[in-house]
Subunit: 498 residues, 2 copies
């Protein structure tokens, strides 16, 4: 049983209303407990314009407040007094967990968080911002407590990764780390920041060939149309996509200047002109709070463009792709070569349509990818069904469901990198993926279809990953590259250095 002490705040003194209130309370008790047997309400005290109530119930006791207010009104409105607001005085909420948590955890916005067997008991006090209650904040706090308990269970456990198909083993002549070779041949030069490369014309020609294959052989034949999507992403967009639920450690954050008047920057500029160094402490003081970050995935600003719109039936499915800028992720320790970098180049196709249309485009994409990876890039590769551990718990996922109707999930395409070791023991490189996210984003951005429910999906084509897999298997000598690929590759002369 959860216990809530709440004060209803009236528009003026209610000392003279005691009789009406004493009459109202049993009526409210009777009405609500007809359906909610556990519900108990009693008046505590009246102080000036406030009525203090003690309420008990199973479930979310606070959700009865609007009903209590409504049921109270007939008894008091004749006095020309209304209920202006309410204040939460004390609220003890018991949440049942699947099992006893391994470790206690903290929950913000509470006065107290206690653990008792399979229960976590949250206490909210007077400092809790009552105006947020109607937006579902208590429910989200309870969900967070359940999430945190569940997360202890799958922490450290790998995602579920079921290999669905593997290409034939190929004779691969090349065994080295291709980035080492690229550096030697000056195809790439270390960039000025962490995990950045400058690609000279040779490497760029290779990237362009991959891009041409992706656009001309996959996207255009399937009807995808190019768009240009914004690349600086305000927090408001990530609030909708949910990227703020855990991508923060990998984000590049962006701040704008406090002033655009160069006079306000005089001290910074003077210091730079004298020391020839950026005066970082002084610059910091001239910046506004961070407003968002750099493109992490390209799809959020694509969905955002369709936000609140209803797409005409004739324009469904919407098949678009963006390749108008880089993505940045703080890869920190995981950086390696050209395949695991902070700044990378991705073509991001997004598809929005009915369940059938999404299912259909997913099938066609799978077929086309297979054709490209087998017959043009001639890769040794495989694809897997990926389910994070916590989703397996929810049931209904796994390899057997992959061909089912209304499939939601992610397919990872992995390439074998000989330099990492044997096929069996080495980690293959994820060089492509394909996700169907159901109505997650169409709902988050209120994107509607004319008379139909919309699902969506995306399938980022990471050019660094394609090139890294291709070179790791075929090497840097063009004479060893597949003939089908060479049709798309335009050779260029290298820039020579002494």
């Amino acid at each position: 049983m959860n216990k809530l002490k709440v004060s209803l705040v009236f528009s003026s003194d209610i000392g003279k209303l005691k009789a009406d209130i004493d009459k109202a309370i049993p009526e409210i008790q009777k009405t609500i407990s007809e359906k909610q047997k556990s519900f108990r309400i009693s008046a505590d005290t009246i102080k000036k314009n406030e009525l203090f109530l003690n309420i008990e119930s199973e479930g979310f006791t606070h959700t009865f407040i609007p009903r209590i207010k409504n049921l109270m009104m007939p008894n008091i409105s004749k006095h020309k007094i209304g209920i202006r607001s309410y204040r939460l005085i004390d609220y003890i909420l018991e949440i049942d967990l699947e099992k006893k948590p391994k470790e206690e955890f903290s929950i913000p916005f509470t006065k107290k968080t206690e653990f008792k067997g399979k229960k976590v008991i949250l206490t909210f006090g007077e400092s809790f911002d009552t105006t947020q209650i109607d937006t579902g904040v208590i429910e989200r706090i309870a969900a967070l407590a359940k999430d945190k308990a569940a997360a202890q269970d799958y922490e450290g456990k790998a995602e579920y990764n079921s290999i669905l198909w593997t290409s034939k083993e190929k004779k691969l002549a090349y065994k080295d780390d291709p980035t080492e070779d690229m550096i030697k041949r000056k195809w790439v030069i270390q960039g000025p920041g962490q995990g950045q490369w400058f690609h000279t014309p040779n490497s760029t020609a290779l990237f362009k060939a991959m891009e041409t294959i992706a656009v001309e052989k996959i996207l255009k034949p399937l009807g995808f149309k190019e768009v240009i999507a914004p690349k600086v992403v305000p927090f408001e967009v990530w609030e909708k996509t949910g990227h703020l639920s855990g991508s923060e450690p990998e984000m590049y954050f962006v701040s704008l200047p406090k002033s655009r008047d160069i006079k306000d920057w005089e001290d910074v500029i003077d210091h730079y002109k004298i020391t020839k160094k950026a005066p970082i402490d002084k610059i910091k003081k001239m910046l506004k709070d961070p407003m968002g970050g750099l493109c992490y995935a390209q799809c959020p600003t694509i969905y955002n463009a369709f936000s609140g719109k209803t797409i005409a039936k004739e324009s469904l499915p919407v098949l678009v792709f963006d390749r108008s800028g880089v993505s940045n992720r703080n890869e920190a320790g995981g950086r390696h070569g050209i395949e695991r970098v902070n700044e990378f180049h991705r073509i991001e196709p997004v598809f929005i349509g009915t369940l059938e249309q999404v299912e259909d485009i997913k099938k066609k994409l799978m077929e086309t990818y297979k054709d490209i990876f087998e017959n043009i890039l001639e890769l040794e590769w495989r694809y897997s069904d990926v389910v994070p551990f916590y989703m397996q718990q929810a049931g209904g996922f796994g390899a057997d469901k992959q061909d089912a109707k209304n499939w939601k999930g992610t397919i990872d395409f992995e390439g074998y990198l000989p330099y990492r070791g044997t096929r069996k023991d080495s980690e293959w490189l994820e060089f492509q993926n394909l996700s169907v996210v159901g109505d997650k984003y169409t709902k988050a951005f209120s994107i509607k279809g004319q008379g139909v429910e919309l699902w969506s999906g995306c399938t980022g084509i990471g050019l660094e990953r394609w090139v890294a897999t291709f070179l790791a298997q075929h090497g840097l000598d063009k004479k060893n590259w597949p003939k089908g690929f060479l049709k798309f590759f335009k050779d260029v002369e290298e820039i020579k250095f002494l």
Copy 2:
């Protein structure tokens, strides 16, 4: 006359060296004043291991310190004592200005800044970091004082802009602001951040046509090769290019997370999950100091890739271009339509070569641009020689020099926008420029050519500006577009919304 009181710090007590020092000082006076008549030196006191000297001279008195140390050594080295360092006690430096400054100004790192007619008098005290003196910090401070005085003179004055050529007047049917029309037709949708647009397939097709023209008709025929240049720019790069001398108010600054461990972000994530808002104050505390900013111009990271390298003769001129990501500038109040935005798409060609090669490529670029703007885009346009006011003062610039050998400067290409008013009275849009920067960047990045001196230049092709000029003159109806242009344009079906 400038006055410097400095202490030479010896490796041990010099009480017993008084006689040697008394002998050395007149010798030093004699030797230096042979060429520097104004030079005066006298010993003040000896305290433990420090010798305090009073020095006077015209020009930078501090530059005599190394020589004084060297001339002192023969007299004292027999005592097995050396000069370890020196401390600046008091330094009064008078700087002659062109004219009396209109207003007094501040100079950092000084104890006092005084104004007296056409002079500014800087006083440095004991807190000045002497170790920086050898890097030229005093000279840079003096230069800053002169710059600030000169800047008062040209402040508010327009750059010098001499029109060199204007195309024939054309019959232009369209008179509206094209962005308004683009919004109506859903060619563009407002982006989530300031000055960002999402381009739907129609507008994107137009951008792609411009890109194809630039690459296929200008860059490839002239021998430019594509590269991929990093887009997040660490301050170290802008320290070399000089962008920190005044571009700060327009920059987008970037900060990385303090920690990549998701546990450290628990509080941020919990708050987001509960409130569905980014907890900006908490995020701010999790960020490192800013490390740089977003691509402002594309050339800095291109030059940086060639930093310290010597380019083989056979690879000169180096002709490269980058189109791998967006640029961001904080346009604030100046934003308008698609032509003045914060986030934009530019193809940036850079050319590095001998003076003759740079001159040659500049000439060819001018010819090719003219052909494209006249015969493919059929624009009404002109080009001008642009010289910032402060450079005019330096002399030797102006329209008459534009065809001269060893020309350095910027050519602006401007298009007439009918919606802004008459040809005569309205501001034309700069839709293209071309700069030859001499050895500014090759020197800043120590880029050398095999046996030759290198110059460089760049010529940003801003796709937003090309499209804005084109649409403002020809309108959005494809039937009115020039035939030569339509060859490059691939029409797409619009996405329809209810």
